[in-house]
Symmetry: D2
């Protein structure tokens, strides 16, 4: 931490800051420049950190600059070689293979989920996604089938050799979901629901943690840290688009977050081009872009009949579009030295 | 809802859209322009709304425009005269009085909270704010005193004739908090924690609902709708700053949200200039601005010794600064025809 | 400037950075912490600054933190008491008086501009605003009356004892405009048109510099620095709303920029609630908020018949609304110890 | 255009709107829904469009929805097959080939520009980029070599069989630059400098138009329209990153803008991953992502010695990194069916 004094700071103000730094258990290191003095804070205690931060508005202080990242377990330096997580049934993520999860926004019926499961498995997906508990911005929208939905998901996944990823919205659902789900998804709106993060930290189930709509990359990694601080190191990060002024797409998929996270953290990072764009016809180019930029996986909405979907129909692919997309990303994957399950595909459509 | 067809849409595509509109139980109303056709959707059912939305990417469709607001109970037309909510002990919000809540970010000790309570009561605050359960972005930061903190809050409030407002983070805390708290606060990070909103909708306790850092005003009103749909109409909205590219202040306090919400909704709206700016020296001008723009209340962080606060010391006022601020907003309040508790103050400092 | 080395940086990498700092003519000051080394750069030369910045991606470097502001002439420390600018006809800005400019978006006809001038003068405005050269995002929109518009502006202003503020879009217009205009306005889209800024720096005419839609406060002050570096110190800054994700208002008026700029710079700062909100019914509350937060002036669109305006009709006030607004801000001004021209007004409307 | 009346609008208010629509030369088409009335405006005149827009705040109106795009010549429907632009020396853009421009931020010396030109030509670039006139946010930074720089650029390009792309900042530079430059670049800060756009519209030189930092895609296309309205149809659009709250990268490269623009417009679209990320180590993954998403070209900063560059050293590639990148995008290009000049490369580095 560096305390940046104002050019007009008095000796008394500088001394006050130095005193406070010592009282908090750190060493103060002065650099007297031609224009101003800056004070380096040396030491390594979390205990009085917030008191240090309060110096930001002490008399004579211009601002305070933090120089180390606030996350530890999630940081690259903690595992420089990167994490390869075992999701079960022989599927690992974070290694050479690009892993694809696909399925409808919400489980709607046995027929629907079995249909989708069969087609996405055939196309090369390794996980079946589908919501049983749905976070909806309106209380009047379809809220999901609940436990019944989980059972259908499990059944359809097992029949097609897939793993299940589904969203958990509240700590009270965790135990209920564990038997049915292979990867617990935390949605963007819950990225900073700390009770939920802590509850998941106490399980040993892999967690897919989506970036909040306005969360910085650092905040995403701090939320991962919450889960890891509880002992569960199986966290998969997910870029799903951030909120910006551009309204042509539902969100702005921050593709650069992929290489940035690869540098800052050892955790696998996947992309969600369905929520990231919000429009069916933009999913394929953004899925290709994510793989080209180094994503470890994708999560994609597929529905047998998007025009009649109970949610997110606008951004769901038809099964045949998904199959076409898998062919495209297989080609991109091979261009960046990554493998993707399934047979080699035809040429990319323009 | 208006379906905007592409200029090049075929008759077949137009007919398909019309058919789907009818199948969803609505009437279709065609307007054939010189360049393109638009289709008005007439009817009033929530049932197939998501299927209608899926038409956004149907062949020949450019986009779909929603023309009514998705919230109802929270909308101005539901109570055109505005809501005046009774918070207890004779304090009402939404009427002529501008109501001020003040206190520390977190309850730290009996001495601290009693000190603050006495000084903010003296200055004219009607509610004591203070966190017992703290949402912290780092798992390594101070997380609050929990139940013990609530008891201290209650004690200090009662002694000084104040009401208590404190943050609830999880549905599991609701019952525990009810005896100690007069207003339940939902933090910005939990604005779309629907389980929490529903749990609060089942109580009859007033709720202070903070706008999420990247939530639109419409989304804030939809979250209020979740609480109201459960039967609890006592919702106070709170503008606390949105996330933008500007980093000089911690957030950008969207003052315009105050008159916009006054127009769209009947619910009271307060402002939080402490989180909205993140710096002690910017709290007073933004508090004045909020009252000048029509806010029904303010929530302000005050700490007896901000430099040693366990959290948010940077943005907490000293008690004497808060007292000075109350004098200023009393003058502003009187300029806009509003009353604020406490004796008349001296001139505003520049 | 502080160079923040990675925890795993080698001695060789640290030495390389130190060498480069010396080669650029600065001193290097090492602080060896428990986790990492940071290097303070001491010295005061602009010459090799960009080479220093290139160290950001040198091996072993995490990042570089700038600790001084890049603007000088515009900084508060350059004139701690604040600038009071003389605009002519006895009008000064930056002192105790809140100065109001008002008028139509564009000059449309002699009758229109004379009508507006008379009514805004009567209500207490000191400057007449009006566009003769209009920056329009579509090439098919009304582009202004040009020189003819300037002459009409001058005529109407002189008749009513007002000063003229009008937008200059290109260096080639500067000479042509000088005889007719008292304050040259630089629009948000041209805030970083450096040729224009330099051309204005060579005149002695006051400049009203609008903040770009996505410009940080620091960038605004750097643009002011361009004008001042040429010798023209008469710069008035203008907050007119920034672009955010919120779409209820046309822009998000960043009221906090007012006290932030007051702290960072000695230049006067005014607010434009017309462009800042984009809707007539939101102009008054935001004008009040700006004055409450410390603005030195306001610039407001007024049109005798907004429904038939050739541009910005949506956000233009009717003359009687402007007169009512002047009454309101006179009350707010007096609450914050500022004077505003004109007779005292009635109560603020709710 | 659709006028959306409030639920509580009176017949008189509806009639007023209908009257105004007729007075402006359009037809009004009423749709009476169960909750409210909406009015379709049919007709095709630009003349009274701004008067129509002023109805947004007419009594009884909730808002107005525009349903057609404001750009025409730039729209896809104007040339559904897409534009293939001839840049000279046999290079075309918008067709099957992905065209790469590379070179330093600024021309600094004959040796520097000749070095770079030789190396980027060898690696497969078709254009040499380099600034002679530099827009710098600080007046104290290096401002470019001017005309001398242009001559050096031309010389180095010709020697290596490259075309020249360089930035024009002001209408007064256009004539001076024409003999030396093959593609005139308009920088992000000048995207809405309408005088400059019009001046370029009067030439027949291809223009590379960069998206402004906070410009919507629609605004970018409107700026293209300005150039095209003057008769110059050779416009290449460039996505170079938008400003968001995320600060890890200098800007957020909006990769989705590539497929969105492909759908809305017939103009070629290229990406600038150097400015889009602002860090050397993020350029390659984002360049790959852009090509995977369908970009028609790339513009990339390369410097023989980035650590000593006079500007943008942080984001400039070393020549050998650029050569490696060309190999990578050749593989990605072939995966999406596009050709890129130069010999086939080795495997992509992870």
């Amino acid at each position: 931490m560096i305390v940046n004094m104002l050019a007009e700071a008095t000796e008394e103000q500088i001394n006050h800051v130095v005193e406070r730094i010592k009282e908090c258990g750190f060493h103060a290191h002065l650099i007297r420049g031609e224009e101003r003095t800056v004070i380096g804070v040396v030491g390594n205690s979390d205990k009085h950190r917030s008191e240090l931060e309060a110096l930001t508005v002490a008399p004579g202080v211009e601002d305070i600059v933090r120089i180390s990242h606030p996350f530890k377990l999630a940081s690259r330096s903690c595992r420089p070689e990167g994490s390869v997580l075992d999701l079960g049934k022989g599927v690992t993520i974070g290694g050479n293979e690009v892993v694809v999860a696909a399925g409808p926004c919400a489980v709607e019926s046995r027929e629907q989920i079995h249909d989708v499961a069969a087609s996405v498995a055939r196309a090369g997906a390794k996980l079946l996604r589908g919501g049983a508990f749905k976070p909806r911005s309106s209380p009047y929208s379809f809220q999901g089938l609940g436990l019944e939905g989980l059972k259908l998901l499990r059944e359809a996944s097992d029949k097609n050799g897939l793993l299940v990823v589904s969203e958990v919205m509240d700590p009270s659902q965790v135990d209920e979901m564990l038997p049915y789900v292979d990867v617990m998804q935390v949605g963007a709106r819950n990225m900073q629901n700390y009770h939920l993060l802590r509850a998941l930290g106490e399980t040993s189930k892999p967690v897919l943690l989506k970036r909040g709509m306005s969360a910085t990359i650092e905040e995403l990694l701090l939320s991962a840290e919450y889960i890891m601080a509880g002992g569960n190191y199986k966290v998969i990060l997910c870029e799903r688009g951030i909120r910006t002024f551009e309204t042509t797409t539902r969100n702005t998929l921050d593709i650069a977050a992929i290489p940035v996270i690869k540098q800052l953290s050892h955790l696998p990072i996947v992309a969600d081009p369905s929520h990231g764009t919000g429009r069916r016809d933009k999913v394929a180019p953004m899925a290709r872009a994510a793989v080209a930029a180094g994503a470890d996986g994708l999560i994609i909405e597929v529905h047998p009949n998007p025009e009649r979907a109970l949610s997110d129909g606008v951004q769901s692919l038809y099964p045949e579009q998904f199959s076409q997309l898998m062919g495209e990303i297989r080609l991109i994957g091979s261009a960046v030295g990554r493998k993707i399950a399934g047979e080699q595909a035809m040429k990319v459509s323009s």
